[in-house]
């Protein structure tokens, strides 16, 4: 069982990323996944997070993730908004980070003591492929690097989710991001 936590800002498609991921593993990999949505009260602007649990066998547990194996951060400024992305992190937790700077990635790695940080400029990749800086699809490409899901499944799930036309662009965005992702 893998437990993931996605952090981001409203409008970045955090919840969508979670949904697509669960589709990718559930439908395209014959595994199981559930999303555990945290729904806030604010109309706009609050940091958003979503939890996903992935497993080979049907998932029984239905509660929030407290000790994530994978932490996905879709906006590297989120820590300035009072969000502690390291909450519940354990020895083997890895980080997937959307950032334009390797420096930031290293900083995260050191500050929070991650074994591995996967990073990519997902916003830029998204901009390149879909013309809008919404990094939900591209960050999933980066996530594939962790082995939680295959990039092919992500591509398929994106096409399914967004429909053929938009889906393919998003799939390309994910693939591109997957290829650009670096692990440190």
């Amino acid at each position: 069982m893998k437990r993931l936590k996605f952090y981001g800002l409203g409008g970045q498609g955090v919840v969508t990323a979670g949904k697509v991921l669960s589709g990718a593993v559930s439908i395209h990999e014959n595994k199981y996944a559930i999303t555990v949505p945290a729904y806030g009260h604010e109309r706009r602007g609050a940091p958003v997070f979503t939890d996903i649990i992935v497993d080979e066998k049907p998932i029984l547990v239905n509660c929030f993730v407290y000790e994530p194996d994978v932490i996905v951060v879709m906006d590297d400024t989120i820590i300035e908004k009072g969000v502690d992305i390291s909450k519940g992190k354990h020895e083997d937790s890895v980080l997937v980070l959307n950032t334009c700077s390797q420096g930031t990635a290293t900083e995260y790695k050191n500050t929070y003591d991650f074994k591995t940080v996967y990073h990519v400029n997902a916003t830029q990749v998204a901009m390149d492929h879909i013309g809008r800086g919404i990094p939900n699809s591209s960050i999933l490409g980066a996530l594939s690097k962790t082995g939680v899901v295959s990039i092919e499944s992500v591509e398929n799930a994106l096409i399914e989710f967004f429909g053929k036309k938009a889906g393919e662009k998003n799939a390309q965005s994910a693939r591109d991001s997957y290829e650009q992702t670096k692990a440190i």
């Binding site: 009260h41 604010e42 109309r43 706009r44 602007g45």
Partner: protein, 290 residues
């Protein structure tokens, strides 16, 4: 007693989580500025409840009760009565509710309040749908507008709140809009000064629900007024007065084209929408003439 953690101008915190460009935020600020501290608010669920805050934090400095969606007028009537029997006739008791909380589920308690003549100021900010639950259609949604529950455009006209209020013969009711802040302020002040039930119906641009640019909230409201999609008028003791009405109405497209909710409107709906608007404007002009 409100414990000020971060000060603000006026009676509302500056940083509240209403969307960028939200008309309702501007309305509530304007209203409270006009009413002052000696005010008690009843706010039902809906976007305006954001101001009530979360947990022990609030964005309001005036005494407030967050009621239910359908009974703001009744809560307000009760509060008014409670003040009255304690000799407090000075505080203004205000219900501040959305179109859903007013024209749909809350209409009955509002009607009761108007009929009984309770000394309450009822303000409906009208963003023309249930925004807080995710843009579902309300009876205030205009004909042809998309919402999640009118996916091909609403098939019927918007309910006429002021028409209903006037049928109740209340001493004062008026429409207002963020397009004209001065006019709104004046109307709030007038309403405050009048004894009995008062109703303000305020057009409220909602970029999120209307699919308009946040920066265009005022522009779109002005277009509403210029096209007659929103008519500014007041009715005092049964006498209708239009406030600075446009000499000639612009075509409704001037208004609709700024908003994605109208992007799917078909020709037939558009004609009907235009017709309804023109008829309504003419009717009001006629009623004013009387």
């Amino acid at each position: 007693m409100i414990d000020i953690k971060k000060e603000s101008r006026g009676y509302i915190a500056h940083g509240v989580s209403a969307c960028a460009g939200c008309g309702m935020e501007l309305i509530l600020r304007t209203v409270l500025n006009a009413l002052g501290q000696d005010t008690t608010l009843v706010i039902p669920p809906g976007c305006s409840a954001l101001f009530c805050g979360f947990g022990k934090e609030t964005g309001l400095k005036v005494s407030t009760f967050q009621g239910n969606l359908e009974n703001s007028a009744a809560y307000a009537a009760g509060i008014r009565a409670g003040y009255e029997v304690q000799g407090n006739n000075h505080s203004t008791v205000v219900a501040f509710a959305g179109d859903g909380g007013t024209l749909d589920i809350g209409l009955q308690s509002l009607s009761g309040m108007m009929e009984r003549g309770d000394d309450v100021l009822y303000i409906c900010y009208d963003n023309e749908a249930y925004m807080n639950t995710g843009i579902q259609g309300s009876s205030a949604t205009p004909l042809g507008a998309w919402t999640t529950t009118t996916p091909t455009g609403k098939p019927v006209y918007k309910k006429d709140l002021l028409g209903i209020a006037m049928a109740h013969g209340i001493p004062y009711c008026a429409s207002a809009s963020v397009a004209n802040i001065k006019d709104m302020t004046k109307k709030v002040e007038k309403a405050k000064s009048i004894q009995g039930p008062k109703l303000l119906h305020i057009h409220c641009p909602c970029p999120t629900g209307w699919g308009s640019a946040p920066s265009k909230s005022i522009e779109v409201s002005k277009k509403a007024v210029q096209t007659g999609a929103w008519v500014l008028y007041e009715c005092e003791d049964g006498n209708i007065k239009l406030n600075n009405p446009p000499k000639e109405l612009k075509a409704v497209q001037e208004y609709t084209k700024l908003q994605k909710r109208f992007s799917g409107i078909n020709e037939e709906q558009l004609v009907a929408l235009q017709m309804g608007i023109t008829k309504n404007f003419e009717r009001l002009m006629r009623m004013q003439a009387e």
